[in-house]
Amino acid sequence: MSETQTRARPRVGLFATCLVDLFRPSVGFAAAKLIEDAGCDVEVPEGQTCCGQPAFNSGDNADAAELARRAIAMLEGYDYVVVPSGSCGGMIREHYPELLAGDREWAPRARHVAARTWELTAFLHEVRGLRVEGVRHDGVVTYHDSCSGLRELGVKAQPRALLSGVAGATLKELPGAETCCGFGGTFCVKYPEVSDKMVAEKAADILATGAGTLLAGDMGCLMNMAGKLKRMSMEQGTRAVEVRHVAEVLAGMAKDAPPIGEAG
């Protein structure tokens, strides 16, 4: 029997991602709580930095491979690796094996880690069958499907299934929920005008839903949309929208921190 089967509580390595680590620790704690609620032991492996995606998407394969090897060495001992981001989760799960395919030592290790890596909501719903209970978030919420999670990892129904357990919250679907918000990592730095046009349309769609809360599963997209919504409310007088990572609401920890881009 494998270790996983003999141990009652699987050991989960939480890969927080650089944006959660640096900008929004509250998402990391919410993720940890949810993973524990789902019957697992959570550890945050020491020495986390970046999954290497910015380098990989910029064509810097040498640096990306180096960061991938570091992350693999750090994560390969866990039963599962859980990531509160479809983008970084997709990097580990889809692109590490591709990036290290030609490396005889590291290719099998990359595949080993990839096979155990899950985006947070997919892990909670698909792997652990978590039912969210005793959590309240009043009002209409809408949900943006971040591209990598959606198209690389098939994350679509999982966050919605989990949200259906949150008391007081009504999900109003966002038209164009599957259209990119314009973040795109280095894209928003290289082509800020194009990125802004995309996020302006996204913000208009969000406002049109009438939802008071916008949720998503990726910090990059969330910071982009929150930043645009707030600037529009400052300059055009549009209404404020509470923007949060879905984990904060699912864990019942939304009260612990002000929304993204807002002061406490």
């Binding site: 927080a16 650089c18 959660v20 680590d21 640096l22 900008f23 620790p25 509250s26 990391g28 940890a32 524990e36 945050v44 020491e46 020495g47 986390q48 930095t49 970046c50 290497g52 910015p54 380098a55 998407n57 910029s58 064509g59 810097d60 394969n61 640096d63 990306a64 180096e66 960061l67 570091r70 591209c147 990598s148 198209r151 599957e178 259209t179 990119c180 314009g182 973040f183 795109g184 990592g185 280095t186 894209f187 730095v189 290289k190 082509y191 800020p192 005008e193 990125s195 802004d196 046009k197 995309m198 996020v199 929150a226 930043g227 645009k228 707030k230 600037r231 002000p258 807002e262 002061a263």
Partner: protein
């Protein structure tokens, strides 16, 4: 055509500031995807057909030389001629040679992206031969002296009002008080003018959606029937096609036709699908006296066996650009050469060199929508990433972006240093942003903060807080 692809960012700004373009794109990016989705939902086997279409083209690309020679034999047997053109210059000269031999003064043209790629119209005009575009979209942009902004809808960047103004200017011999408010009246007017031109033409030039190796046929799909009049009435029919248009059999062409129009316009089939084999035979009532196929390479054969081979599966349906949020924001002209959108972001550097199209593979968020709708399952984002890797190796990116990424990767390999620096930086940013919760202006992110707030960090890093709480004995 002189490429301005390296000026993508400046081109994009022009597009973003053009209200006619933005209005047209607003309609396009709803219309095409909605129609495709409806067509796909009516065909349960659509995804299986995509696999089949991919496999057909992959097989052709693995055996391209064999199928090309077989195609040439069949064309010759049917009384036609195949001309091999390595470069755009060679292709132009071949077409010009045919026109001159026949004493052509006017040529009609069906829609052909290869004609755009080789700059055919300008070359013919230089030699006193008038090219007349017969596809309505192409006719409109010819009046405006513009390049197509989309591979199947060349005038998609225009609104009806803009086209009405062009028609009134170009057709000044018609009654100035005529009513052109309905799209049908614009179509009727163009049709009336073009009808006469078909009969004047000495040579008719079309593109090809497929070349069928087993029969030596070329296949075009159109919605206006202009291709048929273009190729049937003149003395000669010249087909412009690139090498990879080959399919082995009529059966294979039919299989790919089932995904082509559905992906492109959401039609089950285009209105006209025309198969042409050789010139007019003795018993035929109509048809051209000569049938020529100009086969253009222009760098395509060099892609075989490389990480870019898959782009040669492309059937030019335009689904990738119809669904691309970047194309939908900036329009096709921003891409600066013949092929826009995601397929252009891969094909353009493949054909004119990545040094002449540096921004294109970077002008994508990697949202993956293009690949998800591509009927030929071409991994477009992956190939854009391969071009980014080539740019990185050749140091073609900006110095600033290399330095910034290099510094980030350097720090990310040193966790202790990273932790130290990150904790201080976030503490500072968090403190500075504590009142407003975000930044109105950040010097290093001015592109972002010009139009967006930059959310402030909470102040402590997750890893520091986690370590602290674990030490204190609390679980969380």
């Amino acid at each position: 055509m002189q490429a301005t692809s390296n000026a993508f960012r400046a081109n994009a700004r022009v597009g973003l500031a053009n209200p006619t373009l933005q209005s047209a794109l607003g309609k396009m990016k709803v219309g095409f995807p909605t129609k495709r989705a409806e067509a796909v939902s009516r065909l349960p086997e659509f995804d299986a057909l995509r696999d089949q279409a991919r496999d057909i083209k992959n097989h052709v690309l693995e055996n391209l030389d064999w199928y090309l020679e077989r195609f040439e034999r069949r064309v010759t047997e049917a009384g036609g001629h195949v001309h091999w053109a390595r470069t755009p210059e060679e292709a132009r000269e071949i077409v010009l040679g045919i026109c001159r031999r026949l004493g052509a003064r006017t040529v009609t043209k069906g829609k052909s992206m290869i004609a755009e790629e080789i700059g055919l119209n300008a070359h013919l005009e230089k030699h006193a031969i008038e090219p007349v575009e017969t596809d309505l979209g192409e006719y409109i942009i010819q009046l405006r002296n513009e390049a197509p902004s989309h591979i199947i809808a060349p005038a998609v960047h225009l609104t009806k009002d803009a086209i009405e103004a062009d028609f009134r200017r170009a057709h000044s011999h018609l009654d100035a008080r005529r009513d052109l408010t309905e799209p049908q009246s614009l179509v009727a007017e163009a049709r009336g003018i073009l009808r006469k031109r078909y009969f004047e033409a000495d040579v008719g030039i079309t593109g090809a959606n497929f070349l069928v190796a087993e029969t030596g046929s070329s296949v075009i799909v159109t919605n206006e029937g202009n291709g048929d009049l273009t190729q049937l009435l003149p003395k000669a029919h010249v087909v412009l096609a690139s090498l990879e248009k080959i399919v082995p059999t009529l059966e294979d062409a039919s299989a790919i036709l089932r995904v082509l129009a559905r992906s492109a316009t959401g039609q089950e089939m285009s209105v006209y699908t025309t198969f042409s084999t050789g010139p007019k035979r003795a018993a035929d009532l109509d048809g051209p006296g000569e049938y020529h196929v100009v086969l253009l390479d222009n760098g395509r054969s060099a892609l075989l066996g490389t990480e870019f081979q898959d782009i040669l599966r492309c059937i030019r349906c335009g689904a990738c650009m119809n669904h691309c949020p970047v194309y939908g924001a900036v329009g096709g002209h921003a891409y600066g050469w013949v092929y826009p959108g995601p397929m252009g972001a891969v094909l353009t550097p493949s054909l004119i060199g990545v040094e002449n199209a540096r921004p294109l593979p970077n002008a994508s968020t990697f949202c993956g929508k293009c690949e998800s709708v591509c009927p030929m399952r071409i991994p477009l984002p992956k190939m854009m990433r391969h071009y980014r890797a080539r740019e990185w190796e050749r140091k073609l990116g900006t110095r600033v972006s290399r330095l910034a990424l290099g510094a980030w990767a350097w720090a990310a390999r040193r966790p202790a240093l990273y932790r130290f620096a990150a904790a201080r930086a976030m503490a500072t940013l968090g403190w500075l942003g504590r009142r407003h919760g975000s930044f109105f202006n950040l010097p290093l992110a001015s592109g972002w903060t010009a139009t967006r707030e930059f959310p402030a960090p909470q102040g402590r890093t997750f890893q520091d807080l986690w370590r602290q709480r674990r030490r204190a004995g609390g679980g969380r």
